[in-house]
Symmetry: C2
Subunit: 221 residues, 2 copies
DNA sequence: CACATAAGTTTCTCCTGTAAACATGGAGGG
DNA sequence: CCCTCCATGTTTACAGGAGAAACTTATGTG
C-alpha cells in the first residue's frame, strides 16, 4: 500500500518494531491498526461502489473487535473524514500528473486535468461520493479542509496561468473558477450516476461538454 | 399543504370520509397517513438541513407506531424515492415559473431557470441532496425516473428552442445539455455546501459562473 | 523489575430497519 | 341489522450498528 502523506508514514515507521512479533496468529497488539483500518476501508469502498459504510464491518474484515477502531478514531465520521482527505490527495495527484508539460496549450492542460478528475471519480465512485458528501464535513477537520482547498488550488493556478499567458479571457478568476469547478464536479457526479450514458447525450459527452465551457473561457474564438 | 400531483390528491379525497370521525384523540385509522408521513418527512427535511433520515422518527412525529409506515411504503427507501419525486416535480415547477415570458432573450430565460434551480437547492438543501443521492435510486422507480427526466427536459427544450431562434450556437444539443446540467447541478451542490462563499470566489459567483458558460454557448460574441 | 500506559477485548445500552402476529373498525353481503 | 372481511393500525421480536465503560495485555521506561 502506498502512503499519501508524511504523517501516516511516520506512524507506520514508529510501529515497525512492534510488528516484528507477528509470528503468532493473533498478536494482541496489531502493530499498525490505524493504517490497516484505513486501507481496509478504502479497499471496501473500491469494491462496492454504493456501500453503506459500517465501522463494525471494517473491524471485522480487519480481524479485530468492533471496539478497536475507537482507539484510533473518535467516531465513525473521523475515519470517513480521513478517507476523504486521502481521496483529495490522490485526486490532486491524478490531476497534476495529467497535466503533462508537453501538452500544446493551456486549454489542453485544462482539458486533461478535468478529464483526469472525472476519470478518478468513475474509477473510485464510492470514494468520490464520500469526498463530497455531508459525512465528510469539511468545517470540522482542518486537515480535510486544507486537502480539499489544495486540490481546488490546482485549478485556480491553472486558470491564473492561462489568464497571464493570454489563453483565457480577462474575466474575474473567481467566476471562471466557480464555473470550472462546478462543471467538472457536476460532470463527475452525472457520470458516476450513469446519467450521461443512456439519455440523449452523445457518445463522448464529457469532452464535448468541457469544450462548451472552454469556448466561453478561451480567447481563441 | 399543497398537492403535487393527481394521484395523491385522489387518495386524499377518498379518505376524506374516514377523517370525519377525528373528534377522538386517537382515531385508530388515521385517515390519510401516507400523505401525512410524506408531509412530516418533508417538513423535517426542511428543518434540519443535514438530517439523518429515520423512519421511526417520522412515525414518532406523525404520532403513529413505528411499524405503521410499512403499510404504505415497502421500506424506508420507497418513502425516500417518493420524497425525491416530489422534489423533482417542485423543482420543475420552480424552473418553469422562473422562465417568465416577458424576459428579453433566450439567454435570459436560461439564466432565470438556472438561478431558480440553485435557489431551490439552497432553500431545500436536504431535499435537493436527497434527490441526487444514491438513496433515491432512479433505476428502481419508474415514476421517479420520469419525474427527473421531465425536469431535465425543461432544460433540453430551452436549449433546442434557443438553437432554433439562433440564440445558441449550432453545437450538438447533447453537449450543451450535459454542460448545462452539470454546471447548474454543480453550482447548486457547491452553494449548498457553502463552498461558494468563503473562498476566493466573488460576491455573486452564481450568475458570474453561469455567464462564463453562456458565453460559450451563445452566438452573440 | 515494577508499573503506567497504549491498544486491544468484552459487555452493555440505545437506536434503527424490518418481519410477524395481533387488534380494530368501517364497508359490504346475507 | 348483524356478521364477517380487509385495510390499516399496534405490539412484540430480532438482527444489526454506534458508541461508552470496564476489563486485559503487552511494552517501554524509571
Amino acid at each position: 500500500m502506498e502512503y499519501d502523506d508524511l504523517a501516516s508514514m511516520k506512524v507506520s515507521c514508529v510501529n515497525m518494531v512492534s510488528r516484528m512479533s507477528e509470528t503468532k496468529d493473533h498478536p494482541y497488539h496489531h502493530g499498525d491498526l490505524r493504517r490497516t483500518l484505513i486501507d481496509t476501508a478504502l479497499a471496501m469502498l473500491a469494491a462496492d461502489q454504493n456501500w453503506t459504510f459500517t465501522l463494525r464491518e471494517v473491524a471485522r474484515r480487519t480481524g479485530v473487535s468492533h471496539a478497536a477502531p475507537y482507539k484510533h478514531f473518535r467516531d465513525r465520521e473521523e475515519l470517513l473524514r480521513e478517507l476523504a482527505r486521502i481521496g483529495f490527495v490522490r485526486l490532486g495527484k491524478a490531476m497534476t500528473e495529467a497535466m503533462c508539460p508537453d501538452l500544446p496549450s493551456t486549454r489542453a492542460h485544462f482539458m486533461a486535468a478535468a478529464q483526469a478528475c472525472i476519470e478518478f471519480a468513475c474509477q473510485n465512485p464510492g470514494l468520490y461520493r464520500l469526498m463530497f458528501s455531508s459525512d465528510a464535513d469539511k468545517t470540522i477537520d482542518p486537515q480535510l479542509h486544507d486537502a480539499a482547498k489544495s486540490t481546488f488550488g490546482i485549478l485556480l493556478d491553472l486558470l491564473e496561468r492561462g489568464q497571464r499567458d493570454g489563453s483565457f479571457r480577462p474575466v474575474a478568476v473567481s467566476a471562471m473558477a466557480a464555473a470550472s469547478w462546478a462543471q467538472v464536479h457536476g460532470l463527475a457526479m452525472l457520470a458516476i450516476n450513469g446519467q450521461l450514458l443512456d439519455e440523449k447525450v452523445g457518445p463522448a459527452p464529457v469532452p464535448a461538454a468541457l469544450d462548451v465551457l472552454l469556448d466561453g473561457m478561451c480567447c481563441t474564438d
